[in-house]
């Protein structure tokens, strides 16, 4: 296998498959999100973080440049395939969130698997799409307390659901032993799983 930081087909395939597992979960999660919406109190924002978890888990597993972006794009477009509903805004949001996660991981030089990196990426992803929401959903015309509630719930969700839960999943996956030959660790392995 090729060495270094460039992505091999196996890396991409694993990333996309991880993302598609999450796409299936996202589709189920969409139900929870919609049920929480009618209250209008932004309770749905509490589960919003789930939408960045694919990027974070895929990065923690592979740890190469581009993985977070591909994962988030694949998860967003995978949702399209699973739900049979093509939604451009979904894919755009996915791309922006993936890109921001990528920047955070670049800051860690694609090395760290710490909880800190995951939580920071979650928070960054939560912040990243607020400007788009601002224009799309006329957030500037919400009552101030309601807007503050929405922002804080989303950031909290990014940190806990995406960062902490993503890291928890990574640790559990590591214990199963499937990560031995995957991503960066693949460099010194000559055996299959």
């Amino acid at each position: 296998m090729k060495k270094g930081n460039s992505l091999t087909l196996t890396d991409i395939l694993i990333t996309v498959v991880i993302a598609l597992v999450f796409a299936v979960i996202y589709s189920l999660w969409d139900g929870i999100y919609t049920i929480l919406q009618p209250f209008g109190l932004h309770l749905n924002e509490l589960v919003y973080g789930m939408w960045f978890i694919a990027a974070i888990v895929a990065y923690l597993i592979i740890r190469k440049p581009g993985v977070a972006l591909i994962a988030e794009f694949a998860a967003a477009s995978g949702e399209t395939i699973v739900l049979l509903q093509f939604d451009v805004s979904l894919i755009m949001y996915g791309l922006i969130q993936g890109l921001v996660c990528e920047l955070v991981f670049l800051f860690f030089r694609y090395k760290s698997t710490s909880l800190m990196a995951a939580v920071l990426a979650g928070i960054a992803a939560a912040l990243s799409t607020l400007p788009l929401d601002w224009y799309y959903g006329y957030l500037g015309h919400l009552e101030t307390w309601n807007l503050a509630l929405m922002f804080s719930l989303r950031i909290l969700s990014g940190a806990i659901v995406a960062g902490w839960l993503g890291h928890l999943l990574y640790k559990a996956l590591k214990e199963t032993g499937v990560l031995k030959f995957v991503g960066r660790r693949a460099d010194n392995s000559h055996e299959g799983l």
Binding site: T8, G40, V88, Y138, L173, V178
Partner: protein, 263 residues
Amino acid sequence: MLETIKNYSTFIDKANPLTKILLAAILFATVIFIHNPNVLFHLTILMLIALLCLSGVKIKYLVMLLIFIFISGFISSLYMIFYGEGTETLFRYGIIHITDESFVRGLHITMRGVILSLFGALVIFTTKITDVFYALMIQLKVKPKYAYSFMAAIRMVPIIVSEYFQLRQARKVRSALINKKHISGFKSLKSTIVTLLSQSIRRAYRLGIAMESKGFSDGSRTYFYKTSLSRYDLYLMLIIAAAIITAVQIGTVITPFDSTDAR
């Protein structure tokens, strides 16, 4: 699968997937810059007509989908209707405060979502997923390793889903023997995801190695499926452009909403 729910196919089926995705992106940008609810109202109707006539899907499936699109679009803008700023009160109950302005603004956001969903549905009903990736490789010169790993991964989705059901059944059978924590609640969610992920990673790793050794990863290649740009792409672009222009024009004449600016 699409053939079973379709009555007939139209020229949109022959248009290039990339054109459709590009148009969807343009439509997204357009609805963000339209602040007149009247214009969006007409655009919604035009998109609805486009979906009904051009998708070729049987009407009963379309009706089900439309109900879903309209309801979920309305629900997702309730936050604005309930808590938006405004002066002319329509309804007040506790912290819920519906005003004339926030109501129109809420409907405006609903229509944005609905327009995008309607066009999205039109795209999904007229596009084969594999064609998207071939178009990306042939027209946009995306590296084959990306496109092929996407296509291979999509084929794994049914396996992932069936694995999930298998896991659920296995838990059901063993429910008397294992701790309740592992059947419902957070622990079970975690173990479900971890099981699905680890199995998928293992499978993807094996498939990836096999595909790499067969030369799917790089190098120049020829394609069995052909995608190209044709006059149908032009027709589709003209239709969407005409819809937007018509909506803007009629929006100033026929005005179902009193206000011309949702902001």
